[in-house]
Subunit: 340 residues, 4 copies
C-alpha cells in the first residue's frame, strides 16, 4: 500500500454534486483517508477538482484511475447508469468500493453485479444507504435488535421534501425517494419486502404536471409485517423524515424535529430542516468514516450488493404498483451464500 | 313544559355503564337539565338508579317514560339493537333525542330511522359521536375549515387501546373502534367515504384468538382523499388517539400526549391516558351540555341520522373488506334534503 | 332554603369583567346554582345585568342583596378594596362566600377578616385562587402528594403575559401576577413562604415607563425550599404559565404548550394561548362548580382566609424586596386553629 | 514543519481520562492531525499509550515533548495545577495550544498566563470550553447574534448530573460544573459577568456529606442581564443541560431531550443521556477538528486566555458567594488589546 501512516488513497468517480461533496468530506472531515484520484468524463471539470486537492490526479476513465498506484479504494458517485461499469472495473482490480445508491438502476444489472462479486469470492462493495449511519436510525435499530419492545408489527414512515427539481417523475418518487424507506424497512426489520401497493390520493393542486404527490406506499414483508410510507415531495414546508416502529409491547419513533425550541410571535416550536443535506450530513460523514475504517483493516461491512439488488427489485415492483393501484409481488431470487 | 327555570327533564334509556354515566353527568355536571326518568328492562336496577336521583321516575319501557309529563327529551344509551324502537317511540312524541352511537347496528335499520325522521319533517336526533366535541378535534376542525393550511389531502389516524374485553371480534374493531375514525373523517373532511381497504399484518402474539390486531384501515373519500388508520386495540401501553391532517400547505396533528412532563429514573416523558373515559370525559360533558343548550332553545345540531346511517354503511363495507383484503366500495344512498 | 331541586341562589357582587363572567358561568355552565341577585354601585349597569337573567334581582348594596331570601351564597368579584366590607356583611348573615383574589389588598385588612371569620367559629370563605382547580396543577399536586419523585427541593415557575393594560405598576407585578405563584408555592409545597428576593435585570426596551419587566422573584419556604419565578408581563408572544418541581428523585413540569402540532412554512410547533381566560377558563369553571357542590352539602373547602392573608403578607414583603433588591423576611402571625 | 500532506503533529500532555480520549480522537476521528508525542509523569503509563499509536514518542516532561521535531502543536489535558508550566513551555517555543479547561485554577495564575501570551505578541491558546462547539449551543448563539428575537434579557440554565464522584465539594460545583455556564453566559451574551449570588436550598437527603445540592447560581452581566442556573449534580436520573434565552421578542431554548420517542408500559417519552461524554462527544470532536483546521492554516480562534482568566475570576467570586449567600462582585482587570 501507498498509505502514509496508513492513509487510504481514494479514487472518487464522478465530480457532480455528490462526488464533489465526497471529495470535500474525505479531504476535510474524514480521518485516515485522502483523495488520490478523481474521475469525470468532463476533462475540464475533473482537472479543476483535482487541482484543488494536494496529491490528487484527474482521470476521465474509472479504470485508469483504478490503475493509479496511489489508489487503494474507490468511491462511486457517478450517475446510476454508469455504476455497473465502474463496479466491474473495481472488481477487476479487487478494490474496495463505496457505491452511492442505487447500486444500479434496475434488477437485471444489479444481478449481474451481484454475480460478478460472487465470482470474486468475497464482498468488496458497501452500498451508500446512508440512513443506516444516522444517529437516530441507529438508536431505533438498536432498540429493535434488543427486542426492547418485542417483535415489530408495523412501521409508519413519513418522507417529506420541500420541493422537487424540474423533471421529477412518479418513477423517481420510487427510485429516488422511497428507495430509502425500502432499505430502512429491510434493515430495521431484517426481512425482505414481498409485496408493494401504491395508493395515490387526489394530488396537490400545485404538483408538477403528471406527478401524483403525495402517495402512500405500502410494503408487506416476508414475516407479514406491514409498512406504510407517506411520500410527499412538494410539501413546501421543509424536509422531514420520520419512522415509528409499532411493536408488540410499545412503539418507538424517530424524526421529530428538535434542536432549538422557540416562543415568539404567538407561536411555540422551531424550524424545520430545509433539506436532506442538513438532516443527514452527519450520517454521510459517519458512513464514509466507517467505510474508511473497515477498509483500512481489510474488512467489508454495511449494506451489500444484495441490499442494492433487493432495493432495485422492490423499486421495480413499486413502479408497476404505481400504475395499477393493485398489490404487486416482488420478484427476488434466492439469497446467495456470500450475503447471508 | 314542566321545566323549572327552564330545566330540561331528560329520560335516560339504558342504565348500563354509559347510561349510568350520563345520569351522573346530567345530575352533577350539566347546567339546565335534570334526569326526570330512567328506563331499563332490569326493573330492580332501574329502581335503584331512580331512587338515587331527586324527582326521577323508573320505567321498564321507553315509550312509558316518554309519556311522563316531566320528560322533555330523551337520551338513548341502551344496546345498539334497541335503538331503532326507542328512536321511533321518541319520533311518535316528537321528542328531541341524543342517541349514543351507533344510531342502529346496520345500514338497513339506519335507513328506516332516517326515513322516519324525514316523515317528521324536521331533525330531532343528535347522534353521540363525541369526538366532535373534543377540544383538540374542534381545534383541528377549525383549522381545516379556515383553510389555514389549504385543502386536506390525507389523514393519518392512530387508535390504540390498552386491551379489549373478552369476546372482542374483528367486526367489533370496525363497529366499535374504527367507527370513530369513520365519523371523524367524514366530519373533518366534509366528504363521504367511498371505498375501504383493510390490511392485516401478522398479529400480536398475545392477540385474543382469531383477532387480527393491529390492522390498517384505508378510506378513500369522494374528493379522492386518502385516510389511513392504525387500529391497535391490545397495544398494552394505554389509550392513544391521534390524527394528522396533511394539507397542501402544511400538516396539523392532535393527540400527542401532554400534561405533566417528568424526568425520573433515566427517562423523560409522561404517563399515557389509561382509557377512553379519561381521554374523552370532557368531550362527553361538552356533547351533552351542547345538546341540552340547543334543545332548550328548540334547535337541533350535531351529528345527524344521516351521519349515523353513513357510518353504518362504511362499517358494513369495512367488515367485508376485512375478509377479502381487497378494496370495497361503500354503498350509500342519495343524501336527503333534510340533511343537506 | 329557597332552592328549587336544591339549586343554590348566588348573589354576585361586582358586575365588571370578572363579575359578568361569573354571572355567565353560573347561568350557563355550572350545575346546581343560579344567579339570584347581582350587586354594583352602578345602578344602570346592575339593572341591565339582572334583566338578562331570569329571576335575578339587582342591588347597589351588598348587604341588601344578602338579605334577599333567594340568596343562599355570595360570590365577591368587586375591586379588592371593597372585599372587606362585603365579607363582613356575609359573615353577619353567616353566608358561604367565594371571594375572588385578593382576599383584601393588604395584610392588616386580611388579618381583620381572618379574625372575624374566627369569631364565627367556622370557615365560610373560599378564596378564588383558581390555579388550584387547573387540571395540570392538580396532576402536579397529586404527584407531589404521592411522593412520586420524593421531597420537592425547588420550583421553577414562568409567568408570561403578552402585555399589560395601561397603568400597570411594579407593585401590580407582585399583587396581580406573582400572587398566583405565591399561592401555588404554598399549596404545592404545603409550606409557608418565609423570605422574598426580587431581582430586576435591565428591562425590555419597550417596557411601560417605570416598569421593571421582566423580574425574577425568589421565595424561600419554611422547609428551606427555593422557588424562582420569571415574571415577564410584556413578553409579546402570548400567555404562558409553567411550573417545574425539582424533587429528590426526579422533576415534574407542567405548562408546556400542546394541543395542535403544526408543520407549515418552515416551522414545526403550535400556537401560544393568547391570555389567561383561554388558559384557565376550565379552572374557573371547575372552581365555581366545586364551590357550588361543597356549599350545597354545607361544607367549605379550597383556599381559606388564611391562604388569602398569607398571600397578602408575602406580597407586602415582595413589594419591599422589589425596592431594595435585598432579601426581605415575610411577617406572618401564628396560624389559628381554625385553619390548621 | 514535519507535516506529511500537512498533517499536524500533536503532543498530548496528560494521559488520564481526558488525555487518553484526546489521543483516541486525534488518531481515529480527526482529519489532518496525528499524535506525535504523549506526556505523563507516569513513565509506564505514557509508554503504553505511545506504543499503541504509530509514530508516537512518550515523554515525562512537557518541555521535552515540545522540543520533538515532529511536534507542531500542543494539547494540554493534565490536571489544572500543571497547566501554567505547560503553557509557559509552549509559549517558549511559540507553539499553538489547545488547553483543556480550566486555563489555570485561580485568577492570579491565569493572569500570569495572560501576561505571558501578551509578551508573545499574538494569541497562541484556545481554551477547551467545548460547549461553544455543540450543535445546539451554536444554533442558539447564531439566533442571538442575528438578533432573531431581539436583545437577550435573561438566561435560564439547568445543569444536572446523575451523580458525583467521591470527594466532590461545593467549590467543585463552581469550578467544575458552573464554570461551563460561566463561559456559556459570557459567550452567548458577549458580556462580562459582574456579580454572583449563590442560593442553597435545603439539600437532597442523600447528598454527599457537606455538599449543598442542588444550588441556584445567579449572575449579573455588565449589561444588567440576569442569569440563573440550577446546579443539581446528584439528581439521579441522568445528565441534562439546557439553556433558555429570554429576549425582548421571544425566547429560545436548547437541551430538551429528543432522539427516540417511545410509547411503552403506560409511559410516553424517551431516555435521558447518562453522562456528559454522550451529550457532548460531538462537541469535543468538533472543537478539536476546528483547532486542527485553524492551526494548520496558522490562525487562532475560539475561547482565549482572556476567557479562561475571566472564568477563573467568576469562579473565585462564586466560591465566596457560596459561603455568604450574599451578592459578590467579580474582580476583573481591564481587557488587554490582544483580546478585544
Amino acid at each position: 500500500m501507498s498509505q502514509q501512516h496508513g492513509t487510504l488513497g481514494v479514487a472518487v468517480i464522478g465530480t457532480g454534486r455528490m462526488g464533489a461533496d465526497h471529495v470535500r468530506r474525505i479531504s476535510d472531515v474524514i480521518s485516515g483517508a485522502r483523495v488520490a484520484a478523481v474521475v469525470d468524463i468532463d476533462a475540464d471539470r475533473v482537472k479543476r477538482v483535482a487541482d484543488a486537492v494536494e496529491g490528487c490526479t484527474p482521470y476521465t476513465e474509472p479504470a485508469a484511475a483504478m490503475a493509479d498506484p496511489d489508489v487503494d479504494a474507490v468511491l462511486i458517485a457517478s450517475p446510476g447508469a454508469a455504476h455497473e461499469d465502474a463496479l466491474l472495473a473495481a472488481f477487476a482490480r479487487d478494490l474496495p468500493v463505496l457505491c452511492e445508491k442505487p447500486l444500479t438502476p434496475d434488477p437485471a444489472s444489479a444481478l449481474r453485479v451481484l454475480e460478478a462479486e460472487q465470482r470474486l469470492g468475497h464482498r468488496r462493495v458497501q452500498v451508500g444507504f446512508m440512513r443506516r449511519y444516522d444517529a437516530d436510525y441507529l438508536k431505533l435499530k438498536s432498540l429493535l435488535d434488543q427486542g426492547a419492545y418485542g417483535r415489530p408489527l408495523m412501521l409508519h414512515n413519513k418522507h417529506r421534501n420541500a420541493g422537487t427539481p424540474p423533471g421529477f417523475t412518479n418513477a423517481m418518487m420510487i427510485h429516488d425517494s422511497a428507495v430509502h424507506e425500502i432499505d430502512v424497512t429491510r434493515w430495521l426489520l431484517d426481512e425482505e419486502i414481498t409485496a408493494v401497493r401504491v395508493l395515490r390520493p387526489t394530488p396537490l393542486g400545485s404538483a408538477p404536471d403528471g406527478l401524483s404527490d403525495p402517495q402512500l406506499i405500502l410494503f408487506e414483508t416476508a414475516a407479514g409485517q406491514l409498512v406504510d410510507t407517506e411520500l410527499f415531495v412538494n410539501c413546501g414546508f421543509g424536509y422531514q423524515v420520520s419512522c415509528e416502529a409499532v411493536c408488540e409491547g410499545g412503539t418507538a419513533r424517530i424524526g421529530d424535529d428538535h434542536g432549538v425550541f422557540v416562543n415568539a410571535a404567538g407561536k411555540w416550536g422551531g424550524s424545520i430542516t430545509p433539506g436532506f443535506v442538513e438532516r443527514f450530513e452527519e450520517a454521510y460523514d459517519r458512513q464514509v468514516q466507517r467505510w474508511v475504517n473497515t477498509t483500512r483493516r481489510g474488512a467489508v461491512e454495511g449494506p451489500s450488493c444484495w441490499d442494492g439488488y433487493a432495493a432495485a427489485a422492490v423499486c421495480a415492483a413499486g413502479v408497476r404498483a404505481q400504475a395499477t393501484g393493485e398489490r404487486v409481488e416482488v420478484e427476488l431470487g434466492e439469497r446467495p451464500a456470500l450475503y447471508r
